[in-house]
Symmetry: C2
Subunit: 555 residues, 2 copies
């Protein structure tokens, strides 16, 4: 490798040598040398996005499924700003990523040209642990190596490497090697002993699994403990990636609504977290608790986000002598094919009915997806990706990344209509890359969740203007048309039969497909209470529990 | 006003009393009390955007035309992040604005819930002068008053007021009054004397007008100086708002390409700035100068961005005894109606031919708009709004704001296709509010400007992958379809005749309209040099000068 390289070329080689093989990009002038360097590295795939939030969301989805970081290529502070919401989701999901953010040449900064802004400050919101403006072509590749080390050390992080144009075009750069990331530590004996004792105490105990603990190796270990000692298994509310379906241990997700978490955790005396935080309310509500662990419940941390979850769990299994215990596994069962009038619930049913084995389900359906977990619980084995940071507009971009990481697996994205609009440009990239993504858009013409929230925060007197801010009916949205305008096959369906047909077609044809499902605006009940409606079904809860809860809480 | 108010209601009243009458919003749960308070204030108009970049860009366009700030309503750090690029444009354009960014309740922050992030840090990128997290319901309205004072003091700024949910829902709040903003200072006698002397020295002198100096009162004063002493008038490259057309003093805009600025300023010995910075290159290029003021040219600042431009200019007029000098005014002249095959130039010609008096032209056409200035120079009096911060995706949102500020004036937005995609959701708000905006999208299926820039930065060896990152042909875009998918009347035109017809129709019918003009991808010449092509026409330069420049620079 005695070839003379400029900064961009050496950076590209550093990335590729470290296993970074995809760059999701939305470049501008300051990134032109990096763009030109793409052709010097056959191993680097460049995927163009027409909006930065698509690039960052795609890098997130990619890393969740590939288990390694992708790069993004963004244009100065504004490009990074546009990508911020999905970087936030990735950060909350502990997803590894490296942002390459182009900047003005170092000597140009002082002139405060139009695009000059404080990039580092923006970056700190989402990559507080690693933000560096590379100061010279010499240092660039070691900066990149440090960025990748930081990103891949547990908990995985987003690293932001700011690349001034002159550092990029400077000559004489040398690629650097990313050192092997040390293995994550395992829970120490003392905590294992303490937890084993708590479990054996006979008090009602639950284990809350998050992060990497929702992947098969950890799930199996946790399920052995559950089977031997009657420990209840919970998953965090919004998993980065959960492996589930027939043959895997079923886990009940902690509900979004704090009102319900109280019920889920009511009798728990010991709560053991594994790469998860004790549950807190998503938002605060007047007069309601933010911290949802019941008073008097003992908390134990089996594995922190820095630690190895499956090895720590295995150590617990050994301590409990549960190695030979047979874990309870989900039985195979699919819902029937839906019929008649379309509802959000029937859409979830259709997904459960038709989804192929090894599907990747991207869930950003918000209120429309309340039944998704129940309807897919016994479907063939699959992965589910969710909205880890609450910044909507993650689902479509994330699907791009998942499809690129796993080209042989079908991706099914369930997206709310309000949500889909934030990053609709993702459809273009799906078409440009001919990705195997079926996007199902729930058209209810409303930010439905906000109707619930308006009630929950106690803002009771709702006038016309307030209502108009939660309502997408001001102008007619047509997602099938939007899809077609970006080169994606789009269909609008209004009955279950039409949906069944469209879904079968989409799953049997390679390339992107969008199905716009016209569902009733069930939640827009500003006169009646909407919370009871929500209680009809709850994400992640098995149906019998849902029914019990409904009796217990509904006014 | 003894009515009991919560924080949100009192804040709403504080805003309205200070003249803030429009709130461009994309709310979430933490903003629900503010949303509910909308109905308590009949004077506050709420305009929903389906993406935050639309809300911030609309607030920018509104303030440029209304001459006073609008509010935005954004959802925590991620909502602010999504709005950042257009806030950047507003900041660079010295546009007043107040962001209301909802946050978790103060006591909820410590739980680091999903949407928790460091909002203040993000905000500092675009409102470094005023970021405040209001700490109590009692302080909220005085915080808001301070925010509005900061925003409206020259140079106008963006203030960001972070509104924790409990501060918003807390009771017992009292509205506050925004004190009168003190008049901006006027240039002092010494500098006026110095500048008058320089002008009278007989050396070639130019005046560079920016910011508020491009509005009629200042233009007239500057043009008197120009007429009496042969001072050349320049406008900054990207004006926030320039009043122009028949009957107003014509001003030559400083070119985007540094190569040309050198020619524009070549013989200038004295450069007087008025609310403008000495020209610098938009980006840095290897081996080329960033600072574009010629060596040996004397710099004078007549009015800084803090000062009153028209009064300072008037003082200079008096010092030069030019009060009775007749300023040179632009003669009325429109280009003929274009015919035959469609080109970007002919689109600009059609706009010049058809645009009604008092139009508001929003120019984000990038390379396709090179002829726009020349073609509209002698059109009836109008305003032009441009991309002040270089963060593309400003034009469509900005048009919303302009149309709301000036409901009786037609808005004509010229937008590049790549550019339009960043904030395409703006079309929905145009439809929902039935705004009188004609959006012309130049469809050349390319980030054309980057083909120029790739050459200018000297990244010469361009491979297929690099080219693919500048190219929008990966999937078929259809803007007419996108418009229709968001409730806007959309047409695609491929000949000049079709364009003429569509433009006449749009200008004669109220409500939004989108015309997708299919223009050749003239710049995608990766084999041939593209810079000479650009020289065929230059923004803001009169045609004869363009021709002279072309001879002088083209290889």
């Amino acid at each position: 490798m005695s070839k003379k390289m400029n900064g961009a070329q050496a950076l590209m080689k550093t990335l590729v040598d470290a296993g970074v093989e995809v760059c999701f990009s939305n470049p501008g002038t300051s990134e032109m040398h990096f763009v030109a360097a793409l052709d010097s590295e056959p191993k680097m795939r460049a995927v163009l996005a027409l909006f930065e939030g698509v690039a960052t969301g795609a890098a997130d989805g990619y890393a969740r499924m590939a288990g390694k970081p992708a790069a993004t290529l963004l244009h100065l502070g504004c490009g990074l700003g546009n990508g911020l919401a999905n970087l936030h989701n990735a950060r909350k999901g502990k997803v590894p990523m490296i942002n390459i953010v182009g900047d003005h040449a170092t000597y140009h900064v002082k002139y405060d040209a139009q695009l000059q802004s404080d990039i580092e400050t923006v970056a700190r919101n989402v990559s507080p642990e690693f933000v560096r403006t590379s100061q010279s072509t010499d240092e660039l590749c070691s900066d990149a190596a440090n960025a990748l080390t930081a990103a891949q050390t547990f908990p995985n992080k987003i690293s932001t490497l700011i690349l001034p144009a002159d550092v990029s075009w400077g000559e004489g750069a040398k690629p650097a090697t990313v050192p092997t990331i040390p293995a994550a530590p395992v829970a120490d004996d003392a905590i294992i002993e303490e937890i084993a004792k708590a479990i054996k105490s006979g008090k009602k105990t639950a284990m809350l699994l998050g992060g990497r603990a929702l992947r098969e190796p950890s799930l199996i270990e946790a399920a052995k403990v559950a089977a031997k000692h009657g420990v209840k298994l919970f998953a965090e509310t919004f998993p980065t990636r959960i492996e589930r379906g027939a043959g895997l241990p079923p886990v009940e997700r902690i509900a979004y609504l704090a009102e319900l978490v109280g019920v889920q955790l009511a009798d728990i005396k010991n709560l053991i977290t594994v790469d998860a935080k004790p549950p807190v309310s998503f938002f605060a509500y007047p007069g309601k608790k933010s911290y949802l662990v019941p008073d008097g419940c003992n908390l134990f941390e089996l594995a922190s986000e820095e630690q190895d979850t499956s090895k720590s769990l295995n150590k617990l299994v050994n301590a409990l002598d549960a190695n030979d215990t047979k874990p309870a596994l989900q039985e195979a069962s699919r819902p029937g094919r839906p019929r008649g009038k379309l509802t959000a619930e029937k859409v979830c049913k259709a997904v459960g009915h038709f989804m192929p084995e090894d599907s990747i389900i991207v869930d950003e359906a918000i209120t429309s997806g309340l039944m998704l977990n129940a309807m897919t619980a016994g479907a063939p084995r699959h992965d589910m990706i969710t909205l880890t940071g609450g910044a909507i507009g993650q689902g479509l971009p994330s699907s791009i990344g998942a499809a690129i990481a796993c080209p042989d697996r079908p991706v099914i994205a369930l997206i709310g209509d309000g949500t889909a609009m934030y990053t609709n440009q993702a459809l273009w990239t799906m078409a440009a890359e001919n990705l195997n993504v079926t996007s199902i858009i729930f058209h209810n013409a409303s930010y439905s969740v906000l109707n619930i929230e308006l009630e929950r925060v106690g803002a009771e007197s709702i006038g016309e203007k307030a209502k108009s801010q939660l309502d997408l009916k001001g102008a007619h949205l047509n997602f099938a048309q939007l899809a077609q305008g970006m080169g994606v096959h789009g269909t609008r369906v209004t009955t279950a039969d039409e949906l069944n047909k469209a879904l079968k077609y989409a799953l049997n044809h390679k390339g992107p497909n969008l199905i716009e499902v016209m569902v009733p605006e069930s939640l827009n009940g500003t006169k009646r209470k909407v919370l009871p409606w929500v209680l009809k079904s709850l994400p992640g809860l098995p149906l019998p529990l849902t029914r019990a809860l409904k009796k217990k809480i509904a006014p």
